[in-house]
């Protein structure tokens, strides 16, 4: 349990981590554009995120009457920042920006920030559509957050540590996904939820004119859209570190394995979310509490018993 498992990068590490995160997210957005174009039987599409960025950077900033501009801005700026702070504790192969002893709790804290940030982006514009969207996100959050927290506990129990590097190291022989399938699935669902992807798009859904996005334009819209992809990319990275053995793999160096696995999980999540219809929050609430929560508690129980038996 010392810090020697991973090497903490110097100050430029934060820059590198953010750059890699942005590139991964961009690859996902481009892949999504390609797949969308193929589904609509036209060529190209991979250029979509660039075109969208260019479009939004040209747009005039826009506010609404009697809006709370400060809170709206905090909300939209916060999403990409939260994603960046998440990956700060993520060990990429043998490197990490911040080898925090409670890295797992830090990840959890940053995803709780998303609650506040999405709600603030919905509250700020003083528009019915975005307001309803913001409240819908809180409803979703009440459903997914507890299962997510317990899903995070399972690897921590098995590793006996909250440090991300220890959790990765504890999967030396066997990846956690093998004996914690429920925790992994719940975690993946929660990643889709906190990055506002389908089936958890109710806060942004077309029935409320785009919800939280309804009044955003220009760079603020760009930040929120990018924030969703960044959060999904960061979530995939944590999925790899917590359940898929981190950078473990033959021949290639750890960071390469880590990035490869992250990209695969990221694209997999992007594909899944294309195939499922959106869920209304009130449809999710009872199943999440009455089915999801007991299942994940059972998973933690199994892991705890195995951990005790393993030590004893």
């Amino acid at each position: 349990m010392n810090g020697s498992l991973v090497q903490q990068l110097p100050a430029w590490g934060a820059v590198a981590a953010l750059a890699v995160l942005v590139l991964v997210a961009l690859s996902g957005a481009a892949a999504d554009g390609l797949v969308t174009a193929r589904a609509e039987r036209r060529r190209g599409g991979g250029f979509a995120p660039v075109a969208e960025t260019a479009r939004l950077l040209r747009q005039r900033p826009r506010g609404t009457v009697a809006a709370d501009t400060l809170l709206r801005r905090v909300g939209v700026v916060g999403l990409p920042v939260a994603a960046a702070l998440k990956v700060a504790v993520l060990p990429v192969g043998a490197w990490v920006v911040s080898d925090l002893a409670v890295g797992l709790v830090w990840f959890n804290t940053m995803d709780v920030m998303v609650w506040a940030l999405v709600w603030l982006s919905g509250w700020g514009p003083n528009s019915v559509h975005s307001l309803v969207g913001g409240y819908r996100f809180l409803a979703l959050a009440l459903a997914y957050e507890l299962p997510l927290m317990f899903a995070l506990t399972a690897p921590a129990v098995a590793a006996g540590s909250l440090r991300m590097a220890d959790i990765v190291a504890a999967q030396d022989g066997l990846w956690f996904v093998v004996w914690m399938p429920v925790a992994f699935l719940v975690f993946c669902a929660a990643v889709l939820a906190f990055s506002l992807q389908r089936p958890f798009t109710a806060p942004l859904s077309p029935d409320i004119a785009g919800g939280v996005l309804a009044e955003l334009s220009g760079v603020e819209r760009l930040l929120l859209l990018a924030g969703r992809y960044l959060l999904l990319a960061a979530g995939s990275g944590f999925g790899v570190a917590l359940f898929l053995g981190g950078g473990a793999g033959p021949v290639l160096p750890g960071w390469a394995w880590f990035l490869a696995k992250t990209l695969v999980l990221f694209w997999l999540l992007l594909t899944i979310r294309r195939r499922v219809p959106a869920l209304r929050p009130e449809q999710l609430m009872a199943p999440a509490w009455v089915v999801g929560l007991p299942l994940i508690l059972l998973q933690v129980l199994v892991v705890a018993v195995a951990a005790v038996a393993g030590k004893g």
Binding site: Q8, A84, N126, V128, V219, E282
Partner: protein, 116 residues
Amino acid sequence: MSAYLGLAMSLLVAVAGVAGLYALHRLNAVANNPLISKPFASGWIPEQHALSRYHARYYPVTLIFLAFDVEMLFMYPWAVVVARLGASAVIEMFVFLGVLMAGVLWAWREGAFKWA
């Protein structure tokens, strides 16, 4: 302390990146002063301001959530030591969780998870 330095650097870099985007936007937007517009209301002038005493109908769920959520305070430290402390710690924690889960099931029967 260096772990915190890394976090602080990440925060700094992320905020700088966002500020850079804002600056880029300022340079390229067709106008810099924000357009103040009425919110979108299907073509109408909004009859009322949207910011109001919004009735979040799922408020009973928030209460259950808060009760259960306090438990997470104990869960993380427990996760670190459970393997070392053995079976008794597992039993204690899961009795605790079982009691709370019984509360959740009762709340479900009371219809607390339905709202719309």
